[in-house]
Symmetry: C2
Subunit: 381 residues, 2 copies
Amino acid sequence: MSICITSTGLYTPPYSISNEELVDSFNQYVDKYNKQHEAEINAGEREPLEHSSAEFIEKVSGIKSRYVMEKEGILNPDIMAPVIPYRQLGEEMSIMAEMGLAALQEALDAAGLTGKDLDGIIVACSNFQRTYPAIAIEIQHHIGMEGGFAFDMNVACSAATFGLAQVVGAIKGGLGKKIAMLNIEICTAHLNFRNRDSHFIFGDVATATIIEELDTPKGFEIINSKLYTQFSTNIKNEFGYLDRSEFLAAKTAMYPDINEPVTDKLFLQNGRKVFREVCPKVSEIISTHLAENNIDSSELKRMWLHQANLNMIDLILRTVVGKDADKSIAPTVIDEFANTSSASPVITFHRHNEGLNSGDLAIMCSFGAGYSIGSVLLRKV
Amino acid sequence: MSICITSTGLYTPPYSISNEELVDSFNQYVDKYNKQHEAEINAGEREPLEHSSAEFIEKVSGIKSRYVMEKEGILNPDIMAPVIPYRQLGEEMSIMAEMGLAALQEALDAAGLTGKDLDGIIVACSNFQRTYPAIAIEIQHHIGMEGGFAFDMNVACSAATFGLAQVVGAIKGGLGKKIAMLNIEICTAHLNFRNRDSHFIFGDVATATIIEELDTPKGFEIINSKLYTQFSTNIKNEFGYLDRSEFLAAKTAMYPDINEPVTDKLFLQNGRKVFREVCPKVSEIISTHLAENNIDSSELKRMWLHQANLNMIDLILRTVVGKDADKSIAPTVIDEFANTSSASPVITFHRHNEGLNSGDLAIMCSFGAGYSIGSVLLRKV
């Protein structure tokens, strides 16, 4: 019996924002902010904000555009967040469920399956729009599963590989034979569009991956996985249910700094430290994973890496495979999608899994907040 | 090789609140509310709130008291929420990590292990105080694990059994041999203490369960698990990261109704529907699970059930085992702890796993929001 990825599906949001559009809005915000705080800035009591540029963004990240679920609010310098109307739970489908469902339907169609064939759904991503009931259970309902289980898990940007590893475990533990793993990300809703260092980083998307236990393998066989985590606060988002209790203790209103360029309640990172600390660790984990499977890095035909930053992808490829490694081994989608957190290695797989021969070895690798790193070893059937 | 629960640990919060104390505060709030809205109430435009009583609470739930992380704020009729000072992430240990660590240390001590022996930690509960980095990874750091993985998952009240099933899968999938599954609940922070139907339901607690793959089994062998979910909005908590986007769309402040007796942003349930729909389904899942393992319900020596409500526990016991079933088969801790969400079946196991003989069969079963139901079949070694 083999456990295989038999198909994937991709939901692409309706709008795209170019770097130029984003920077135009950001620079308007900067001008307003500096004017509003002119007296303090002139008195040296507050740092002025700096303009950004499309060239800067592309140079440091490789990102040219990002898809978003809502565009006007993000680009309005007085709002700078997606404006998403509330949907009555139980009467309308939740937005995360809708996105996931579209990706899942595409993946099921590609695998020649329907919702009735599924035994389980795991939604693995970096944020959830509610505490309960689980988004996965809402999708289970709408896709027409009969029985089975569904649940949500959060491993930030590494959720896809951790999710795949959990699916494999669920199959080996006898919980089912056909399980879908979904990554649904509205990253723009927890992104701080007023923060010059990170406002350009993320995009929205949803992916679905179908994993099946099969007598006759097809697609990509999952050989095994290696998961690694190490505590770091260099990437964080402290939004959570204790906020009310903490604001009561601080005797402030709820979220007094939510519209500031720096707030703990939205995505916040120390990008330089992350780059310096995560890249070598990711390379080490992949290399160790290969060594544990007696695979030489020269045998690696494809690496579907987390798309956080083009320079990170280049560095990891060169460290693992060699400094003259063919860039086509680690394909990228970051220019079009930006960083889509958990979904990014799956989009990359979805777009770039052709051209491999039977028996070819490949790695899907995610990394991000936690820190968390997951490496899944695959063999083309 | 066997996969066994080899120990558990329990962290009990520093304070306890009796029904009498809770009702005294609640009734003060009711009087203030009715006085504040006197004109509207007299004009028939608003329903007055009703007093509660300690007897009512005990009669409908079996709860006599609950442990809490903070007491004064909850009992202050002008606050009615735990007041918990913010701790600087990375400089001080997070409160959820601290609670989980205490339970984990007790469990490790009982198993004769240290943090270095662990390969993974899963924190499975109904709410997380932040989005990332994961609470599990913070605990991994503080318990002194060397390498390994950790992540958070949320399956509301069913998180313990779903967590156990994931641990078994992780072991079978080769991710590790010794894994801890933690349930950390500060339920009082997402409870609406202004809601007469539910203000008494929850308490705070943390539990830890050590699961080991062993040549020579000990403790309780995990035979297998059955997980089931079915979408329902009868138990919900819609707090989440899209709230900002939704309040922007609604053009309101953040959380305008957070201090009302009914708000979607805290725990909210239709208790009667839940009772009517969940009890028969739980009984059916346990009975099916036993039948799939060719076990007659008369062979079941112990059921560690989710402690949501004493009447539910009685009904499930009688439905599964028989109407004259010995109540000691399904021990309870709800009188002392109230409902502690994911942790409750583990507390019940922790307190009441003595008196079984080698080979005796038992079930740990959780159920709750989603709906989600998990049944884990255990054999006393």
